[in-house]
Symmetry: D2
Subunit: 320 residues, 4 copies
């Protein structure tokens, strides 16, 4: 292997830049050349790419977002689109590809590998943390801390007043952010898509606390479990308590990455280069039990990374 | 004057604790006694109050919210409610009252003074910054910085994708937060209740930038100007561009106060005590041109602190 | 077991409050009573302790420091001191003790258990992360993020000027903070007590980068490896480059705990209670490979948690 | 005026990028061309400069440091150096110059104007806030907040232990940062170069608090008043209390600028362009009483912006 390419795909996540930096510097350290592809598979198809050097990735480790930008490409899902991308593989002399993104991105990489044989290495980057085969994805820790900071601020005003606050966080199919941030933030209730979320139970708990003298409650809702605004409305109707709603939205995808995400991204990016150098042709880098592992790319999008029900129970016990 | 009381009323704002600390320590420095009243006028009516000393306000200068808690009291709007409060004035020997809050709170203080003659000193505390007679209210600077941090995070993901982001901020009748944070955050458009906000113009500007190659736009909407969700929907329908909405809600009321708000609160709280000591019986402490001023309480709720249209124009010029 | 006690000992670390909260609420959930001991073993000896309830630990999960305060007790190292503490065990009916602290604290707990048979459960809390038997101690992640934020700020001014910056961080015998923060912050050189730190090598690397056009360098020094001020002086003498020194000191011990530290503290605090309930009489809760484990208390202070040399190598490769 | 240039000079400060952005966009809005000069007067002499457009300043409003970089130029202090710079003025057709920096930079600009007649507009950018003719300089508010955040963290650990903490902050000749941050942070003592700082008084205050039961003290020292390490040593010798020292150093120059600094920089940068357009040939933009003012450049470096002794007294009263 003499020349590899790197792209970021799907939703961006904090730490992707640290991963790009690791890929580029590790590759150059071993004498490889690196091509940076802009806008994910769209730039792969459109030949929007160019060489990267040590300075290309200077002073980016602490920046949110991705300097290579990202996009969702419908065209890459078609054989014609992938054929165009393959022309660029030949034209630019690309012998390996690092894809930093989520399960949808890995699905595309896997198909491309099967069709054209290009070795691909996946690096899991998504705040949702829902990719199978890795305990953590790049960006999750930062997103959770962003939500926890929001809870901190809400807590200030919550303890001054006597009200119920609802915080809607990201997670269409996965409650990782809601559960982890809810436990870390000391939320009274956490609603996640993986579980039947019984509004009546939430209301009862709210009432129990209220009668015991608990002056305020914070409820975390994953967007996939319910709409924050609707929950606020229902709770108000059922309990008469005043409810206030915050919807964090895409700001959860931004921010300076935490140390955890930068270390994870640095280790994973470097390992992806090693995988391509050692002929490991279609795997994702993962982390399991604190150790870097290699997972067959095809196994990463068959199922979702499950939430830890023990944490859910613990959150219930600690917020009584 | 030998004994004064202090309360926080209305919506809480970051820096109220610094103001309470200043009132208590300044008063004790001059040999006065201080009574802390809980939950605003509600606690004033219910006799939910007690003596405060130097240690009562130790290690609170950096905390959001208010250790005296706050509430909106319907009862204090009635003569009966105020009569009960007056009984507590006699019972606790209160000779002066510092009210930290917004214009509604000052209205109540003014009526109470007119009815019972108790000297009152107002300290403006509201993130909305809409109180006439002062350039700045305690909490405004912190709230603006909270919004600006949110814009920073959105900017990360905005530059990675090519999208339009809408951020709904507080301000039912006032665009101070939206305008100041929008200018500081480099937002492309700012919608405030003080101005006719023409959606068509916002769309046109969006399109112009888009055609020029501007890849992302951030639009700040004060809640009083429009609903963020509706603006997002309309813009999507009119331009076809993908729009993402964040609603910050009450987290804008929390957070560790900035240095600016703590200094402001410290100066204002200390001045309020001086006003009560010097027989200044129904005024609010304000800041104008960087100097502490005294404003007749009655003049603070007749109109609103106007926004600076020069800043609005400047925001337009700098976001071209 | 019907009544347990909890104390924090040694240097404080962010997340200790989350651990106290978990101990108290988990215990109450299982019907136990909890005694909170102030100022570590000093309060244990002086009977500075009292009952805690659900509200004692409300709204503390996000606070740095420890509400139980901490101290280093010379008296507890003497048989006389421990005898006094044992009197309090009998007087207050304490049947188990949770000690949140570092290896010195665990040594004391172990001796006390051997002498008086009181079941003890250790919870590792120290920013140094040097306790054997656990991958992570409570507070380490927060301290690392504090250092990384400092590096971020230094990086701003470093890229504007052309200078060398030296950042001295905590770690008398252990380079965990320096290494992890240095890797996460993209530092050019990292000096830790575990390795021979050759100043000449640091200077050479500095010169190499300088000749290649690298305009600035950031060097992280663990206090146990060298004095930041001395390193700055030496580097200036050897290279003629201007050097600027920051000494973070004890602010690394403060700050709102990160989500990681709060989750860790919550899990460990709850497990410590389970250990006491199940008759596990002299163990520390640890985390290994992401799973909660139980380690003999005596094994936690015989050696230090070793640093990961792979991370050190990676930091070298990525900062070329 | 058709073409103006802009440079940043001296020590960098957070918000300089927002000022550059304002200069560039305001100028382009009025149809002017803008040349960006790298590395202050060094680049002015070396012709290290080039045209800037709307995109040159996109997404920089929130970044610390300066994209134009900065330097201190000895050569520009010589007639030969300035003659070279003048050649570049002719070569690049520069008809006006915006200098963002401190008093030393304005001195140079003033001499250059007197020698060659080039209209110059100064924009005050320094965290020290010591420039006469303006209440605030760009970067001061951010630096103060950085120090206040450090105090917050120290406060966590200070309340857990019983110790004295010393924080050395920037300010060789000026105590603005120390005084403002000390008041905002609730520091027990503040040592600034403008006042005789009597160590005995500091010690006495420390002792008084200690006897009253005050468990911890935080002392802020401006580097120009004393060395933090020496103060720590002396205090320990005099009182026997344990003292811990933090030296913040250059990290005070970095960080994302606060909203206040961005607004200030935006207003000042835009006004500097207006000044050059209106033939105002040798003035600095200042802010006085919240209003933008124009100050003769020659008056900005004759004396220093004085500290507010009322704030110093207030800090003493509120930290009893």
């Amino acid at each position: 292997v003499q020349r590899i390419a790197v792209l970021t795909s799907g939703g961006d996540s904090p730490g992707m830049n640290a991963a790009i930096r690791a890929v580029v510097r590790k590759a150059i350290f071993h004498g490889l050349e690196v091509i940076g592809i802009q806008r994910g598979y769209s730039g792969f198809i459109d030949a929007d790419m160019g060489p990267m050097n040590l300075s290309s990735v200077a002073d980016i480790i602490h920046r949110g977002g991705t300097i290579l930008r990202t996009a969702r490409s419908e065209e890459f899902k078609t054989p014609q689109g992938r054929a165009k991308a393959h022309e660029n593989v030949l034209r630019f002399g690309i012998q390996g590809l690092v894809v930093i993104g989520g399960d949808g991105s890995f699905r595309g990489a896997n198909v491309f590998h099967e069709e054209y044989g290009l070795p691909v290495a996946g690096v899991p980057g998504t705040i949702d943390n829902d990719i199978a085969g890795t305990d953590y994805s790049i960006g999750f820790d930062t997103a959770v801390n962003t939500v926890v900071e929001a809870i901190n601020k809400i807590r200030d005003t919550a303890t001054s007043h006597e009200r119920t606050f609802i915080l809607e966080v990201m997670g269409r199919e996965s409650g990782h952010i809601a559960l982890t941030a809810g436990l870390a933030g000391g939320a009274e209730s956490i609603l996640i898509p993986e579980l039947d979320n019984n509004i009546n139970e939430v209301c009862e708990k709210l009432y129990r606390g209220y009668k015991r003298g608990k002056l305020h409650s914070i409820i975390i809702v994953a967007e996939g479990a319910a709409s924050g605004l609707e929950i606020g409305k229902k709770l108000h109707e059922m309990t008469g308590l005043e409810t206030k709603v915050t919807i964090l939205g895409h700001l959860q995808r931004g921010g300076t990455p935490t140390a955890f995400d930068r270390i994870l991204a640095s280790r994973m990016g470097a390992t992806a280069v090693e995988m391509l150098m050692s002929g490991n042709a279609k795997h994702m880098v993962g982390i399991a039990g604190g150790k870097i592992v290699s997972e067959s790319l095809a196994d990463t999008f068959k199922c979702k990374n499950a939430i830890d029900l023990e944490l859910y129970k613990l959150a219930g016990i600690l917020s009584i």
